[in-house]
Amino acid sequence: MESLQRVFGRNAAYWLIGPAALWLAVFFLFPMLSLLTTSLSDPAGSPIYGYDMTWRLQNYGEALGEYWPYLIRSLMYAGIATLLCLVLGYVLAYAIAFKAGRWKTVMLVLVVAPFFTSFLVRTLSWKLILADNGWVVNTLQAVHILGPEGRLLATPFAVIMGLTYNFLPFMILPLYTSLEKIDPRLTEAAADLYASPFQRFSKVVWPLSIPGVVGGTLLTFIPATGDYINASLLGSPNTQMVGNKIQQLFTTASDYPHAAALSVILMVLIVAMVLFYVRRAGTEELL
């Protein structure tokens, strides 16, 4: 802004960006480096007396060798949850963008509002709903969808359902933003040219909403892969995700080097997948 320019002189931009840049450098980038050095340290140390930096690359091999099932499980659960979010989120975002009329703002507020009931509390209430003697399980048993010994809680289903539920708003908002930009006259034009409803969607609406699809899947998939709250509250020891392991290694086991190595592996995996995906989706300008 020219006005501030005169107050601060030619360096106004740097004065404005400075605090944010400094904070993120010291408390985001620097910690990442610290995580990297910790991951190469000798596990013989302790969090209190410190770890010796010994370039111990074996930490990575050991972490990967022992915990790879958790990594696979995390990617799988997060992947399925992201797909489910995409389907549910697309339906709702489409309805708000094209069909809600004057209720648009109200519906958008309603999408964000559940956020404000603490999400741990909401996740715990799913425990109540899916409980072994709850009416959902009883009903499913009565109609023989679930066997008499069948259960929902403490299964992969419950964990994936929890992930889907918790990250749904992260999918809806970017989808809505890109759907809202689409000129409705485009679909009308397609209809004039004898496109069927399905063709109108697949040839006009869907391609134009790709930036929202990419943004939404990233915002859902990345946090879902690292999440361990759903796996802890709704799952069982057999459904633990990599976040559970990292958390445990840091807090209960105090094995910082292996925990750090596992953290770095997770980060590298995610970055690699995101780059591949963004390139495939052809919207590189997003990053």
């Binding site: 106004a12 408390f27 990442m32 995580l35 507020v109 559940p114 009931t117 909401r122 953290s263």
Partner: protein, 274 residues
Amino acid sequence: MITRLGRWIGKHLPLTLGILVLLYMYIPNFIVALMSFNDSSQSRNLYQFQAFTWDNWLNPCEPQGMCESLRVSISIGLLATLVSTIIGTLAAFALVRHRFEGRSTMNLVLFLPMATPEIVMGSSLLALFVAAGFGGQLGFWTVLIAHIMFCISFVVVTVRSRLAGLDSNLEKAAMDLYANEWQAFWKITFPLVFPGILSAALLAFSLSFDDFIITNLNSGTTVTFPMFVWGSAQRGVPMQVNVIGTLMFLIALTVVIGGEVASRRRAKGKAAAL
């Protein structure tokens, strides 16, 4: 009646499906509100509705440590909101109104925290604090530092989108009418950007108040509200937790709807003035 409903659904299928998804999002909120009236004194089974009572609402602070943790969460939330909103708003102004060297690098650095899983961010901060010798002093301040860090990016994104949609000619017009730079800023730019800053602050507070993963790794013995809920989850959550959840929801809804009504009224007033 049923056939009329059926016809409406047939005509508005996408809208109906959308409303169903929205209802699904509210199932837990409904359960939380219901359980806040649950009388859990009769039985140890905390996962079933026993009997109706007002007690949980009348004695919200009964569970030991819960309101203390609430106080900690609110203090951290308010401080993190204040600092991250100021820092983030300044950065948003720099990014929208200035072309400077390192701008694209800064955009990337601001994007990274949003694209990093919380467990990685939390563990890297812990690694830093321990390596720097602060391992024994984890608590209020380390949590606050972490919260400010992950709120900044969200504030920048929110304010930036508001600022980018602003016509900078308005400011020039003000100056043509003999406003000086400060007047143009405080009378024109700031009031127009303010709703964006306000919603950024609201977002920052709710992110900070709700965070568990990063907080848990960096909090030492300090207990925030999500950590209290987590800790009590093993034994069965006290019903008062549901009261707090419902209350938060109602307060947030009031703030958001209030803001919406106010901006609508202002828009109407402006239309009338024209």
